[in-house]
Symmetry: C2
Subunit: 353 residues, 2 copies
């Protein structure tokens, strides 16, 4: 009934003290080369693995990140968060951290859970998503000096974009993404391009819309902007798109999301007399399935950056230093890319324009 080897076991076998074995594992540079090799050989031979519970107790660190498990009822866009979570787990794993999930019904419940996790020493840091300006959670974490990073800027949902906070976040440049999509259509010769977005006032939605306008403004021909809006659901997207098809002579549409693109797709199939180019946003399986071009969020890169920022905070917080980086260095925007599919390669009708 031999139980797992411990530091002491290895130490005895290698003829050194437990502390030296500990150093071999955590601070190899403190150990003389010859000793290092010998101890490492013993470690390999007896298949020693450090006990994380003991390490956590002694170091007062958990090496664990907390992430809230959400299920967007909207669903189609939940895909992005799902992939983000996957990427975060991978990135964390690579730097010796692990990801622990929790669920909470609302912000209050979430803070209650944090309180517990932090008090019990369950987590060293947190990864957030869906932050908004004035989000109580941000203040809560900041006050308590809890290391955390958010996926997404804390947009103001009233339309203003004053305060992007001082906390660490990583976001995808939605404006650049939509601009990319619009420019792609312009380059293909389209001159009657609509943008089908969300209601005015959503930070993310307005940002993406801005990208559309920028692209048009930068175009020599200066085509007229056609801004359509829907509530974000597939059904309403279909309705609004159908309506627009009756009134305007469009050759292309850029949508604020793939859910909306799906709705637009249906309307086009049903009501358009000729094929209309379509580009969505998020590059979800639905877009892939229906061969709809879409703007792809580089979630893997976002995740990698998040973990970097978080690890920095955790490491410096431990040494009780003030965080040295400036706010700007802790707020990162990454560029999305356009995934071209057949939906944006439709021929432009000759009799239009």
């Amino acid at each position: 009934m031999s139980s797992r080897p411990t530091l002491a076991t290895v130490a005895r076998a290698a003829g050194v003290s437990p502390q030296t074995v500990s150093n071999v594992i955590s601070n190899p540079h403190l150990v003389a080369p010859a000793t290092l090799a010998r101890v490492q050989a013993v470690i390999a031979e007896v298949d020693y693995r450090p006990n994380t519970a003991a390490r956590r107790l002694r170091t007062q660190r958990s090496f664990v990140l907390g992430v809230r498990m959400t299920t967007d009822m909207d669903g189609i866009s939940g895909y992005v968060l799902d992939h983000f979570l996957h990427a975060v787990t991978g990135s964390a794993q690579r730097v010796g951290l692990s990801v622990m999930l929790y669920v909470a019904d609302d912000a209050t419940a979430e803070m209650r859970i944090w309180d517990q996790l932090l008090a019990e020493g369950g987590v060293d840091g947190l990864v957030l998503a869906h932050t908004h300006a004035g989000d109580p959670r941000i203040g809560w974490l900041t006050e308590r000096q809890v290391p955390f990073v958010a996926f997404g800027r804390p947009w103001c949902d009233n339309g203003s974009r004053a305060d992007l906070g001082t906390h660490a976040w990583v976001d995808v440049d939605g404006r650049a993404g939509v601009r990319l999509a619009t420019e792609h259509l312009l380059a293909a010769g389209h001159r009657r391009i609509a943008f089908l977005g969300w209601p005015k006032g959503s930070g993310v939605g307005d940002d993406r819309l801005a990208g559309y306008k920028e692209a048009l403004a930068a175009c020599d021909d200066a085509p007229q902007a056609v801004v359509l809006r829907c509530d974000g659901s597939v059904a309403d997207a279909t309705a609004q798109m159908a309506l627009a098809l009756r009134e305007a002579d469009l050759t292309a549409v850029v949508t604020v999301s793939d859910a909306v693109a799906l709705g637009a797709h249906a309307a086009i199939r049903e009501h358009a007399t000729y094929d209309i180019a379509l580009i969505g946003f998020d590059n979800t399986p639905v877009a892939r399935a229906l061969d709809i071009s879409s703007v792809d969020q580089p979630v893997a890169e976002v995740a990698e950056r998040c973990i970097e920022l978080l690890k920095q905070q955790i490491d410096t917080a431990r040494r009780r230093q003030a965080t040295p980086e400036t706010t700007a260095e802790r707020q990162i925007v990454v560029r999305p890319r356009l995934v071209e599919r057949s939906s944006s390669r439709t021929p432009i009708p000759a009799d239009i324009d």
Copy 2:
């Protein structure tokens, strides 16, 4: 600079020994009512929380479950696993366990990670998905007596259904689900119902197909079975459905998945001269968005059962008893339900039949 209170702190304040405080928390029934109340008052007052690292070190348990984070490239069906993960996290949380994620590229990598997690004392048990007959992982875990439970039966993918293993699993009765869907259509008067499934040989797919056949066989009118197959992709589903529409006079279709339903939906919209009833499987956001009826997998219940089974194993494994339950008691099948939407309420054309 007051750090968090410990057992000793509380013990001193309450005038008892640390062990008594420990009992108040973990075994209240061992403590006299008066003492219990007094200690609990102190605990509340100083806001004491037990340190998990210390508990884990002493008890040699982690109270953590490992779950592999996957991202189905198929995507649309990834939705089910996503919700399952959410539910598992919630159920675990409710019984004092937490969920830790890890990623792995293949079964070998996964076992390597397990080896590490188990050796380091990182997890007490595992939750698996996507098991199949002869899955090397099942043997690996069984040999090492690691508590685990799987979502889904370990189907044989060669068509036989001999061995469902002796390990614990919870699955959704796909056959019953499709039978439910088919019966619903039969009750509505449909007599020309097709089933659009996956290629022969997939355990899950064949099981669902069996439900279709059962329903038809149980019907007095005994309509003819029309079994269509596609590779599971949206595109191929569209193609196969379009083909079938040209050859057979169908009034309704049941599909093996929502991805396939999406494809069928497109084909119907494009090629059918009259509206054809449609029922999918998985009740994903896509089905909801397009108002397609679908068979809903009760993932919350599956998760709850999984956690129950797992907790049992963990608790008994710790006491080094042989697991008392029989295999049958550790293999649970739960029934899905049909979510009716407009896609299955289409009128039946009069000139057919």
